[in-house]
């Protein structure tokens, strides 16, 4: 577990590249076990959330009947062999999150009124989870993107409504996970942590002095403060350990990037494989992935079929049959990719358990019907995570259930002690 391994694998890759050999990324099998995991008593729980910001055609997507015996629709057919591993949700949305494309900023935040004056976004699901869970892995979360504009697109937002940029380069992500950082950058970060540690020490001393001559009620308030100081210090130590620890080693070579926006689904597939690699190496437990269909020009659906125009233009199909047909194919292609991911996660084992059973995968969209800029009745698929699956859960189409109720369930399943998030009214009882 040290640098020479990495250097070797890198040089091997360079060699192959320079020799003109194209590297196909093999399935990621020979992961080195990650340190620390054995010491953790609880089985890791993971979450991957994917959103295509133009969504899916609603009619071919949503099953007609609810319950266990629903019939797989045209779009969902590619998921037939994993149907027992997933649940379909209909009739869900974020209350008061409307305004067409602007709603994509709110998919994981549920902040109301994204087009209203004075709007400010709120903390997203992934950041909320990390705030509660603390840093269990090297990266508290990873935010990824496909065809995104880095400055303006991400599913992840801070508490004060600042966008957390998403990574859209597979090799850059790979290097962050497996290649030791630049010593200067590490030093800078350690220095930052060190400063914060010193500040906390000072606060501890100072507060202890303060509390000597206080009454009992006041003292209990300051105890709360001191406890907080101690807890922040503990977390700093964890962060510091991560900074000092060598990164895990993988036998998988660094992937080639895909920069051609036309290859949106190849890129999606690649980023999903990177996400899986991140989970397998326990580099993170929470990943978001935004597929920016909105910014995608005419694209390849699969080998042998390209669209005739950009994704956004297609999405306003106006029921034109030739456009609808292309979208149907594009929607189905994404289900093929999702099905592949689910199978791959199911085939992987970790401490004797299926990786899928420890990994929740949510694929959905902020858009219920892009043709009409409708942000209700969002398409949501949830797989894995050891939850009870196999059903279509249909909520009212004219009076949607808050999507945040499902988010609360995800959070709880991740191990976050909460019964509220965003616009939730409770946890979803059906899983």
């Amino acid at each position: 577990m040290n640098a020479p391994h990495i250097a070797k694998s890198l040089s091997r890759r360079r060699f192959l590249q320079s020799a003109g050999v194209t590297l196909a990324l093999p399935l990621l099998e020979y992961m080195t076990p990650v340190f620390g995991r054995a010491a953790q008593a609880k089985a890791p729980r993971r979450l991957l959330i994917i959103s295509n910001n133009l969504g899916f055609l609603p009619k071919p997507f949503f099953p007609k009947t609810a319950g266990r015996d629903y019939e797989l629709t045209q779009t969902l057919t590619p998921l037939s062999n994993v149907r027992g591993e997933l649940s379909i949700f209909s009739g869900m949305s974020h209350p008061d999150v409307n305004g067409g494309h602007s709603a994509e900023n709110c998919f994981l935040t549920a902040a109301r009124g994204p087009t209203k004056s004075g709007f400010r976004n709120q903390i997203s699901l992934d950041q909320f989870a990390v705030e509660k869970l603390g840093q269990l892995t090297r990266f508290p979360t990873l935010n990824l993107g496909v065809n995104i504009d880095k400055a303006n697109r991400s599913l992840s937002w801070t508490r004060d409504g600042v966008l957390l940029p998403a990574e859209d380069s597979a090799p850059a992500l790979f290097r962050r996970m497996f290649v030791q950082g630049d010593p200067e950058a590490v030093k800078k970060q350690l220095n930052r942590l060190d400063e914060r540690g010193s500040i906390l020490d000072t606060l501890m001393d100072h507060t202890k002095k303060l509390s000597r001559d206080l009454g009992s009620d006041d003292r209990s308030r300051l105890d709360q403060y001191l406890t907080s100081v101690r807890e922040v210090e503990e977390r700093l130590l964890t962060a510091r350990e991560w900074e000092l620890k060598a990164k895990p080693v993988t036998s998988v070579p660094e992937p080639e990037d895909i920069r051609d926006k036309k290859l949106i689904f190849d890129k999606l597939d690649l980023m999903l494989r990177m996400a899986q690699l991140a989970f397998e190496s326990d580099s993170t437990r929470v990943i978001t992935l935004m597929v920016d269909a909105f910014a995608t020009p005419a694209f390849k659906i699969h080998d042998g079929e390209d669209t005739t125009e950009g994704y956004h233009g297609l999405s306003h199909h106006g029921q034109a049959p030739e456009k609808v047909k292309q979208l149907e194919h594009a929607d189905r292609e994404q289900m093929v990719i999702l099905g592949k991911l689910i199978q791959s996660l199911a085939s992987k084992r970790e401490d004797g358990a299926r990786l899928l059973d420890r990994t929740m995968v949510l694929f959905g969209s902020n858009m219920g019907d892009a043709n009409k800029h409708d942000n209700t009745n969002l398409p949501i698929i949830l797989a894995g995570g050891g939850l009870k699956h196999g059903q279509h859960h249909a909520f009212k189409t004219d009076n949607n259930a808050p999507l945040c109720n499902l988010f609360v369930t995800l959070l709880q399943q991740l191990g976050v002690e909460t019964n509220a998030f965003g616009s939730s009214t409770g946890a979803l009882a059906v899983l």
Binding site: H101, S102, K116, N152, R159, H206, V232, H316, G318
Partner: protein
């Protein structure tokens, strides 16, 4: 029975005085409130009379209150008046004694941490950064007793502490500069076609066109790029804008983006116009209000943060030059926003390309604004460089922060900063802990400025800074200064207050009164008004529910109305205090604060201009008083229907100060019927027929019924609207959409209060409520108390509250008098 009695005696033994009440409780209460029956989940035989325990005390306070109000026993005649008086008196004495003893021993409440608004404002004031934006780095504070200043809710946690550190860091970074000179000031004079991004917009020509000699210029036909380009310097052209730029949101001058954050001065020449058929302009008859909005240009279809800036400007029909200052964040553009004008909604049937449909022109023409030229200048430089914020951190050490003597300067700067930031003197011993931190950072090789910032950060996250404390002695001056300033300005005490505290003069009755009066008159008082009404009246959620456009098409996209309603209530509340109105204005007044839009909304004679001002009401107007203001009626309704239950409970709790008990968990809310077939009264009848429901609902439903004449935005109505039953009304709404609703059943506002007094309409109700100004004043004192001290009125405060009310009675319980009397009370100043 014997067992019960002896058990009761045991519980009572602790306090001898209560042994006397035991037979009375036994006689009148225990039959229902024993271990077997346990009505209302209260078993008096098991309830200890150890009043030192606050949970027990709360239970007994509730018992005392219900007996005193003759609510218990349920049939008032079951308890002879003499018994009641005796029991109430004895309980009162014991409760007062126990609560007062605790206040004497521990103070009225413990330390309270600053909430995020206060933390931000403290740092803004310390660092001279009025635009500092760090509030949202801190988690939202929990509410208690409706306010975000309630001690018991303001906990500290790991997340909270980290956020304080992050916020302090962000603030200090914002205060420090490293450039040799202020950012270059950009000046631009924009005319002609540069006043808009293109020659047309999504909204078609009805939304915007360029005109010369009051006639549109047909760029479309010419398709002549050169001509358009040449017109960018053509001063004879006007840019005429007719719809709110909120969507499509592209009404910005061409290509201007703020490269640097800061304030930008805008000067522009404009006039209000009317668009006539055929795209010609005539002078307007009324001013047209507009404002500027800033946002990042993130593509045509996606908006994130948008800020209204520079205030509302009434553009007059005669050509004039206007000037305002807007704040821009880095990378933002600004757009023209015409308030009050509807924006057309794109119609794209089946997803075809958007088209727009406009409602027929209003009589006389479509109002709009024609702009001749616009000048931008900014970012406006600070008064000095380095700016004052940098000085706070580094005194005269300049941009490079080069100390003459590292150790000495570090100590000196720290003391200087702490003196500017602290709200009371900090001991040398404490300062040394921060000295040590700075020294340690220096020893580890940190740059001087970084080491100093570490020390400052530590101070700004320390208990001294984060917590406000209760005045701890009769001579505690600084805690009073902080309490007063956080009460009335939501921030730290200013220099004058600290000076008076230092001189030990602040507790002098006359000086304290003068200082409170001074703060009430200050600009900082606006923060009190905003924060207090945001929470007490829930104004922060005034935009929570959009009007249901099926039923209320006239309110579609009427942001100007909502904005005006919000300003009305805040202006009214400010005047309640500054102009010292009697407390009865909570429910009744013979004037409103209105502007052009509100005058229309309240069916008053037309007035012009966006400024909210005092307007007298006709004698029979149902408006006047906080109770019937649009903002209040909006936040107490949802976007579709009103509910007398919800509104009644809202008003009783917040305005009258008689909060209804919590609803039983098992009963669902009344589901409104918007078909128009059933009135809310029919639906409620089912609900209140049950005796168990009726008892409570009679306390608040009637008030809500009287308000049924006001729709979801406070507009007057005599009939409910529906979508199915009743007389059908159709038309085209202000944004060009067809509408169709029905006028259904009549509103019946009659009702009977729990004490038997009947009213026929809202004005009758107002007269009844206004007849008890003492209760309205008591409620205000209770609200001010929890807001100012973080602790709600305690049992042992009640006597003092009544004596404050006595003192204010002769002048009719005026609101500023109430506020000032509270400031001078021991509730505010701490134990005597």
């Amino acid at each position: 029975m014997f067992f019960k009695a002896s058990f009761l005696c045991l519980a009572f033994l602790a306090t001898p005085i209560l042994q006397a009440t035991s037979p009375l409780v036994e006689k009148h209460c225990v039959e229902c409130h024993d271990a077997d029956t346990k009505k209302g989940n209260l078993d008096l035989t098991a309830l200890s009379f150890d009043l030192k325990d606050s949970a027990n005390r709360e239970r007994w306070i509730r018992s005392h209150d219900r007996i005193e109000k003759s609510e218990m026993p349920p049939k008032a005649e079951d308890m002879p008046a003499a018994d009641r008086a005796t029991l109430v008196k004895m309980l009162d004495a014991a409760l007062y004694e126990a609560d007062h003893a605790e206040v004497l021993a521990h103070g009225r409440g413990p330390l309270r941490r600053l909430n995020r608004d206060e933390y931000e404002q403290n740092l803004r004031d310390i660092l001279h950064l009025p635009d500092l934006d760090i509030r949202d780095i801190l988690p939202e504070d929990r509410e208690g007793f409706r306010f975000n200043k309630t001690t018991s809710m303001l906990d500290m946690s790991r997340v909270q502490l980290t956020a304080y550190l992050d916020a302090a860091e962000a603030a200090l970074r914002a205060a420090m500069v490293s450039e040799k000179a202020p950012p270059e000031v950009i000046k631009k004079h924009i005319v002609g076609t540069d006043l808009f991004p293109g020659t047309g917009t999504f909204g078609n020509r009805e939304s915007m066109f360029f005109a010369r000699d009051n006639k549109f210029i047909d760029w479309d036909k010419k398709k002549d790029k050169e001509a358009v380009k040449a017109a960018a310097t053509d001063e004879t052209i006007e840019m005429a804008l007719f719809r709110s730029a909120s969507w499509p949101y592209l009404g910005t001058p061409k290509g201007f983006v703020a490269k640097r954050a800061g304030h930008y001065k805008l000067r522009f020449s404009a006039r209000a116009v009317l668009q006539q058929p055929g795209f010609t302009l005539t002078p307007a008859k009324q001013p047209v209000p507009m404002t500027f909005r800033t946002r990042k240009p993130a593509g045509v279809d996606i908006i994130n943060e948008v800020h209204a800036e520079g205030g509302v400007i009434d553009i007059q029909p005669e050509k004039q030059v206007y000037e305002t200052t807007i704040r821009m964040r880095e990378g933002e553009a600004f757009e023209y926003s015409l308030l009050g004008l509807p924006m057309p909604l794109a119609m794209n049937p089946n997803g075809s390309a958007p088209s727009y449909r406009y409602p027929p022109f209003p009589e006389g023409g479509q109002p709009g604004v024609a702009v001749q030229w616009l000048e931008i200048e900014g970012p406006l430089p600070p008064e000095s460089w380095p700016p004052p914020s940098h000085h706070v951190l580094f005194d005269e050490l300049g941009i490079d922060v080069k100390p003459a003597n590292v150790k000495e300067d570090a100590k000196r700067l720290l003391r200087r900063f702490v003196k500017l930031a602290a709200r009371e003197p900090v001991s040398e011993e404490d300062l040394k802990t921060f000295d040590a931190l700075i020294q340690q950072r220096l020893d580890k090789g940190a740059a001087f400025s970084e080491a100093m910032l570490a020390g400052y950060k530590a101070f700004l996250a320390s208990g001294d800074f984060i917590y406000l404390r209760e005045p701890d002695s009769a001579n505690d001056q600084f805690a009073v200064a902080s309490r007063l300033s956080h009460f009335l300005t939501n921030s730290r005490p200013d220099e004058r207050l600290l000076d008076l505290a230092e001189k030990k003069q602040l507790r002098d009755a006359k000086i304290l009164r003068e200082e409170a009066t001074r703060l009430i008159a200050s600009d900082g008082f606006e923060r009190f008004v905003k924060n207090f009404t945001d929470y007490w009246l829930n104004l922060r959620q005034i935009r929570r529910d959009d009007p249901d456009i099926r039923l209320f098409p006239e309110y579609r996209f009427d942001e100007y109305l909502v904005e005006s309603m919000e300003r009305e209530t805040r202006t009214f509340f400010t005047a309640m205090i500054r102009e010292n109105f009697p407390a009865s204005v909570l429910v009744k007044s013979d004037f409103v604060f209105a502007n052009d839009r509100l005058a229309k909304h309240y069916d008053l004679p037309p007035i012009t201009g966006s400024v909210v001002r005092k307007v007298s009401l006709p004698a029979d107007s149902p408006f006047g008083g906080l109770l019937t203001q649009g903002a209040i009626l909006k936040v107490s309704a949802n976007g579709t229907t009103t509910s007398p239950v919800v509104r009644g409970a809202w008003v009783m709790e917040r305005l009258i100060g008689k909060p209804p008990p919590a609803p039983p968990a098992s009963v669902p809310a009344v589901e409104p019927d918007i078909r128009g077939a059933k009135t809310i009264r029919d639906l409620l009848a089912l609900h209140t027929k049950e005796k168990s429901c009726a008892g409570c609902h009679a306390k608040f439903d009637p008030v809500g019924l009287a308000l049924e004449n006001f729709d979801i935005l406070g507009g007057w109505r005599t009939r409910y609207r529906g979508v199915e039953e009743g007389e059908r009304i159709t038309g085209i709404d202000r944004a060009g959409h067809d509408f169709s609703y029905t006028l259904a059943t009549n509103v019946d506002p009659r009702g009977k209060l729990i004490d038997g007094r009947e009213f026929k309409n809202v004005n009758d109700l107002k007269a009844i409520l206004a007849a008890d100004p003492r209760q309205l004043a008591r409620n205000l004192l209770h609200q001010f108390t929890v807001y100012a001290t973080g602790t709600p009125v305690r049992y042992s405060d009640r006597r003092e509250i009544e004596s404050l009310l006595d003192a204010c009675a002769k002048d009719g319980y005026r609101v500023r008098d109430l506020m000032l009397s509270l400031v001078q009370s021991s509730i505010f100043l701490g134990k005597p």
